[in-house]
């Protein structure tokens, strides 16, 4: 189980994540939602160990991740929000490098990489540099790199970004399959419909604070709202969306 206890991240002049506590359990898919700038990616980076917390504690299977960060990283797979990759390497070279960095045995890693490339339809382009890849292809490389070592904890930050419909459907099923096989899955997305279909529960973040943490079913019942989009709008969207749209159209003289 992944557990965040009173996690806070302060930047000069602002608090990006404010006293956040929630947990993500094995076999569950936890959706992590929030508007832009709400602190989702900052939380993800703290969970991956890329960013240090200002205060609080993150535990995986009851052990603070900072106690043995290396052991924790061996069990964690991460897809970042932005597809930053070494573009001068080919997809195959990049994944091979990731396998080597993770210390995976060469032969099984090569088999796994080839399999992932084939299943993600990248095999034909495996020798092309990543600079030639489309956004969706880069996302597939990131997904492959995150899953290569069969992690126990899977952190996905906007994993559907840039994927074509077919691959998005595959990823949606994959997330469910991995959770069913006992993985802890935490993913953030702006695609509320997907989150609603995939997640067992959601954590909604607004201005760095948690405003909801429950199963979607219970939230629907408690708030008497039919969809996750309505729940999200009520909790995390302060603006009068229709009014703003009208104002913008008026402003540009449309």
């Amino acid at each position: 189980m992944l557990e965040l206890r009173n996690v806070t991240k302060r930047f000069p002049g602002t608090i990006a994540v404010d006293n956040v506590s929630f947990s993500a359990r094995r076999g569950e898919i936890t959706g992590y939602l929030g508007p832009n700038g709400s602190g989702k990616s900052t939380t993800m980076k703290m969970i991956t160990g890329l960013m240090e917390m200002s205060s609080g504690e993150i535990l995986f299977d009851g052990v603070p991740i900072q106690r043995d960060l290396l052991a924790y990283k061996r069990r964690m797979g991460y897809v970042p929000e932005e597809p930053y990759l070494y573009a001068h390497l080919s997809g195959l070279e990049y994944l091979t490098m990731v396998g080597q960095l993770r210390g995976l045995p060469a032969k099984p890693a090569a088999n796994c990489i080839n399999g992932l490339l084939r299943l993600f339809s990248l095999h034909g382009d495996r020798h092309s540099p990543i600079s030639n890849y489309s956004k969706g292809m880069r996302q597939k490389v990131l997904l492959s790199a995150a899953l290569l070592h069969n992690p126990d904890l899977i952190l996905l930050d906007e994993p559907f970004s840039g994927l074509d419909v077919g691959t998005a459907l595959v990823l949606r099923s994959l997330i469910q399959e991995l959770a069913a096989r006992g993985k802890v899955v935490l993913f953030s997305s702006h695609e509320l419909e997907t989150v609603e279909r995939v997640s067992s529960r959601v954590v909604i973040l607004h201005r760095g604070k948690i405003v909801a943490d429950d199963s979607i079913e219970r939230l629907r019942t408690l708030m008497a709202l039919p969809t996750l989009e309505d729940i999200f709008s009520q909790l995390a969207v302060e603006q009068d969306t229709a009014g703003i749209s009208r104002e913008i159209a008026d402003l540009i003289g449309a």
Partner: protein, 568 residues
Amino acid sequence: MNDLQFRVLYREFLFRMVDLELLSPQGDITKLLGQFAAILIWISSGLFLGAIFFDARRIPPNKLMTVLWSQEHFLIATTMLVVGLFAVLSWESTFLNRRDVMVLAPLPIRTRTMFLAKVASVATALSLTVASLHTLAGVAWPVLVFSPANSGVLGMIRSLAAYWVTMLAAGAFIFCCVLGVQGLAAQLPRRLFLRLSAVLQIAAFCLVVSVYFLQPSLATPQALSAAKNQHALAWLPSYWFLGLFQALNGSMHPAMAPLARRAFAGLIVAVFGAGAAFLLSYFRTLRKIVEEPDIVPGVRGVNWLPRFGNALETAVVQFSIRTLLRSRQHRVILAFYLGIGFALVSLLWKNPGPRQQADIPLIVASVVMMTAWVVGTRVVFAMPLDLRANWMFRVTSVHPAPQYLAAIRRPLFVLSVGPVWLASAAVFLWAWPWRPAVGHLVVLGLWGTILAFVSLHGFHKIPFSCSYLPGKSKVNLMFVAAGGLLQAIGLGISYELRALRDPASYARLVAVLSVAAVFCWWRTVALAKAEESVVLFEEEESPAILGLGLFRDGALPMEPAAAPNPPT
């Protein structure tokens, strides 16, 4: 042309002469540019002191003209060297890059505006380079030394103007030559141009450095008039501009007249040739940048590399090899160091000295190239490639730091010590009897090992993955260290030559080098194994105390605070 667009683009292009991707988040581009300027001003100070202490009265009258010409030629050649290096190093920023085109092309900006802003920024950078190099020397030499005797204040002013016009013209000439070559190459298909660019950059670099060090000394009336030197003079632009300076200064010797004419003609041809080639290629390149990728796809099987130890070591070494082979920017910086080594070796081959033997240049070449290669490779390792992508190294850091630090040492041996040693082995075993050849190769291997471990001391970064912070290296100390290193190499080589003929001396030499190598290895490894050692991805760690960011838009929050919200 829209003036505001021009100004915005001009400023943007000017400050992007240096790749911002290299900089740490705490890095400051103005500080970095200031450091470059400081290096040039530092050189200028040295030249300035030369002018201050120049005493014409101590030079025999019949030699005075030759001394003055040699000094004038030295200053012109140095200007051409510095501008030539600037032109080669700023090769990447001469054209818009892919990001520029993707950002600017959709905006309502005329291509002409972008082109002119680019030309203006390059011209400004070029002028600033020449101005920095001659900040102090550019006043002292023409006013105190070069102005014709008894010419008064007017003579000084004329000499000052002649000096600056000549230096700027010499700089413009060499810059336009490099630009012209680039413009002509850009007529090729873009992929071919990108491949060829790397070769051309290194070739131009070696040419500029070699010409500076190897050109014959012809600054005497006899040498300039001699028929046998006319062919060489026709190919040595620094002498043309010496003629131009003499013409502008009003002190022209008849032997200089054809050189001055050649400088004038050469400048016109270079400026218009480069202008035409650049203009033609510019608009063509803009289209091609969008249509074709920057990195040429690899060929299946060609990119295969062997294993280099365990998986982690293999990953780090293969990443380093691929990055160095595919990144033009890093290759050029390495070529800079190799070019310096090459120039020193060339200088020795050119002037072997009366007491030296035929074997010495070969030994010096191997030792100097080993030194230049190891130092250059270590320097490029510190310069990142796509900093934002280094998150993968952080996320996959599943091994203890000492294992990473052990893996980090390996690429330097694979990419520098190994290749130079193998190439030297081939040459020495072919050219020398096997016994002295093996003897020297042992010494060379130990020297390479010592250098590699010394240069890796405290280097706790995966190559190409840590940010770069300007202002950290102490350039003045680097010059002193380089001078000391060259001196040590000279002494070491003379000792080795003697030792190769005397087994006892040779044993002592090998013993000393072995002890030094083992000590360097032990020190570097001990530091890497220290408990507090970590792999660095930021040159400067985040501060323990964070500022509160109370400065907004450069203004202090002096305005009266807004009325507080009523308590709820």
